[in-house]
């Protein structure tokens, strides 16, 4: 008997802790705080904390005339789909959030999106470019372009600007993002008259790529396309150079993090990649964000941080426009967003969860990411 009394009172206390402070708007964040792309999880967290501080300093979100404080509940999805699914469940069922920002990688967003969709909770993924994330869903949005577009841009760049007649691809076959963009590139490159002479794969957590690279070396491509994350790319380029490969290298938005240069060093020089934005482009919203971010965290902004910041404000605008913190109303307000001026450019939604946005090409020069050209 005694034990059950204790248990009941413990439950009551817990219920109070989680349920009693119902004031304010709660928004969930699913981010890779640990795991293979943890450096990116940190920039996600930074961007969210910066936005939270700004919003609450102004008194909070204006929900139908009443100012309400906002709380972001940041959870670690370890960049693993199974963990992302748990995080989404927890945010929706336990924390009762009104919307979710995240996740970053496509494989995690793909795991979370069906859960958000079924629960009718709006989700905005900042950085997931795989088409499957939003397709056929009412409540799932993203703040970035999609891979068929990005693959076309990078294939066109390799053909026209880099003058490549032949190309080889090495990609992580176990990840939705890497696989999707590799296949788009292969098709687009061939369609524009080029020849794909190598199409090799590896698995997440592999560190030795020399067997695949030796095979690619034998095919002597003009350009090597590496649509992988920043933690693998430096190893791939180093190993290629050590094998004596001198071909040009091009990549995709998964490259955008300072870890790439920290680890790759001078082997990264002269490589290009597609990205969502560049700090070099003169845009007031972008300049303001970069200034605040670098001052607060003393580290460089990556695209994932900028897109996360934009996702947060997309959502906050939608809540203010809806006038109530109701998931369905928020969803409708996001879907009708037109010309939202974000740090990564203007964002508009028309019918689907994918915004219409342009891309930029970044060149790595003297250990820095330098703006090369913009594509619309």
């Amino acid at each position: 008997m005694k034990r059950s009394v204790w248990l009941l009172s413990a439950l009551f206390v817990m219920g109070c802790i989680t349920g009693c402070n119902e004031k304010g708007v709660k928004i969930g964040v699913s981010a890779p705080i640990s795991g293979d792309i943890a450096a990116l999880g940190q920039s996600t967290k930074n961007a969210v904390l910066l936005a939270q501080e700004e919003i609450n300093a102004k008194g909070g979100i204006n929900v139908g005339g009443k100012m309400q404080k906002v709380t972001f509940i940041i959870e670690d999805d370890e960049n693993k789909p199974e963990a992302a699914a748990t995080v989404f469940q927890k945010l929706i069922n336990q924390d009762k959030v009104v919307a979710i920002i995240g996740s970053q990688s496509s494989k995690c967003s793909n795991a979370g999106a069906p859960i958000a969709e079924a629960a009718g909770i709006p989700q905005i993924s900042p950085w997931s470019t795989n088409p499957n994330v939003t397709s056929g869903k009412q409540f799932v949005f993203r703040a970035c372009f999609i891979d068929p577009y990005q693959g076309k841009v990078v294939a066109g760049f390799a053909r026209d600007k880099m003058k490549a007649a032949t190309a080889a691809v090495l990609y992580d076959v176990a990840s939705d993002y890497n696989k999707g963009i590799a296949e788009v590139f292969r098709d687009e490159f061939a369609k524009s008259g080029g020849k794909v002479v190598g199409f090799e794969t590896y698995n997440t957590n592999d560190k030795d790529f020399s067997a695949q690279l030796s095979k690619i070396k034998g095919a002597t491509p003009d350009v090597l396309f590496l649509p992988n994350y920043f933690n693998d790319v430096p190893l791939q380029i180093q190993q290629a150079r050590k094998l004596g490969m001198t071909c040009k290298v091009v990549g995709s938005d998964g490259w955008d993090n300072q870890e790439l240069i920290k680890m790759g060093g001078k082997d990264m020089e002269g490589a290009y990649f597609t990205n969502h934005y560049s700090p070099d482009v003169d845009r007031p919203a972008s300049k303001a964000f970069i200034a605040k971010y670098t001052k607060k965290f003393n580290s460089q902004v990556d695209a994932a941080a900028a897109l996360t910041y934009d996702s947060v404000y997309l959502l906050v605008n939608a809540i203010e426009k809806a006038g109530k913190a109701d998931p369905k109303a928020i969803r409708d307000a996001i879907a009708s967003t037109k010309n939202f001026e974000g740090a990564t450019g203007a964002i508009s939604f028309s019918g689907s969860g994918d915004p219409t946005k342009g891309a930029v090409i970044i060149r790595i020069s003297n250990g820095k990411f330098v703006f090369d050209s913009a594509v619309n």
């Binding site: 293979d36 590896y202 957590n205 560190k207 030795d208 020399s210 067997a211 034998g218 933690n231 870890e259």
Partner: protein
């Protein structure tokens, strides 16, 4: 074509050397106390991080000091793990030991993640790493060559240690009959501790070479640990020669699959072949069937 083939042989040799340094630890521990030490892959990871910390904390530390020092420190951790986690369970069921080993492994991964952070890091280049051009476009870097040579050297030293020294003889005696050995006045705890120390030291060398050639992160021991364990089983777990042969064989099959079939099939074919091999020789290539006295 022939250049690519020769290039692939070097790639396989380097990968095989790293597998072998880990596989030796599995095989030695199993040989003496019949424990499959599933934490061994994480000791390999720990060795890499100890090397990394030594280089970053003491700038200018020569590589000839760093590697033995990291091996010594990791050996001490190995002995500590045996003392804290395994010794009390030595008489317990085999299953309890295996579960404990898995737990120790997960503990080590998370400890390193909390202390050092989850990012992948590279041990700054210590070994000379100039690219050597052989004939017809075949290239090899000096560090790759050194890794293969030093690994083989360590394996030879280990073989001499186990087969020609007194303590090595005692190790083999423990493997043969643990109870009888104690009656002969041999300190069983000392012998088992030595086994863990030597196995951990070799894994640390493997971790440092790996962190030099590739990169290190807290979870790298999982995949590599499994592969090295399987290499040890193919070679005949408990046998030193077997662990080395199994490692180079596994690396060879993996590289040949990528080179001449498809990189998609690498793990499927490598492990499919191993299953077939174990069906033909259940005790591995160098393994002997255990004799049961009736």
């Amino acid at each position: 074509m022939i250049e690519t083939a020769i290039q692939q042989i070097f790639n396989a040799a380097q990968l095989g050397a790293v597998y072998a340094l880990i596989a030796l630890g599995y095989t030695m521990v199993y040989g003496t106390i019949r424990l499959i030490n599933f934490a061994h892959g994480d000791i390999f990871m720990l060795g890499g991080f100890i090397g990394f910390l030594l280089v970053t904390l003491i700038p200018g530390l020569p590589v000839a000091v760093m590697i033995p020092l990291a091996m010594l420190l990791t050996a001490m951790v190995g002995v500590l793990i045996e003392r804290a986690a395994y010794r009390k369970l030595r008489g317990a069921q085999r299953m309890s030991l295996v579960i404990t080993a898995l737990g120790v492994g997960i503990f080590l991964e998370n400890l390193v993640r909390i202390l050092v952070g989850p990012q992948a890091r590279q041990i700054p280049a210590q070994l000379p790493n100039k690219v050597l051009k052989l004939a017809n476009g075949v290239v090899i870097t000096e560090d790759k060559l050194l890794i293969i040579v030093i690994s083989l050297l360590l394996m030879v030293i280990l073989w001499i240690f186990v087969n020609k020294t007194l303590i090595g003889t005692a190790m083999r005696a423990v493997a043969d009959n643990r109870d009888a050995v104690q009656l002969m006045g041999i300190n069983l705890n000392l012998i088992i501790a030595t086994t863990f120390a030597v196995g951990s030291a070799l894994a640390a060398a493997g971790g440092i070479f790996f962190g030099q050639a590739y990169s290190i992160d807290p979870y790298m021991g999982i995949d590599l640990g499994w592969k090295a364990f399987i290499a040890a089983v193919i070679g005949g777990i408990g046998s030193i020669e077997g662990a080395v042969i199994g490692s180079f064989l596994l690396a060879g099959v993996e590289v040949v699959t990528v080179a001449y079939l498809s990189s998609n099939l690498k793990n499927g074919i490598a492990f499919g072949l191993l299953i077939i091999l174990l069906l033909i020789r259940p005790n591995g290539i160098m393994g002997r069937a255990e004799l049961k006295k009736v």
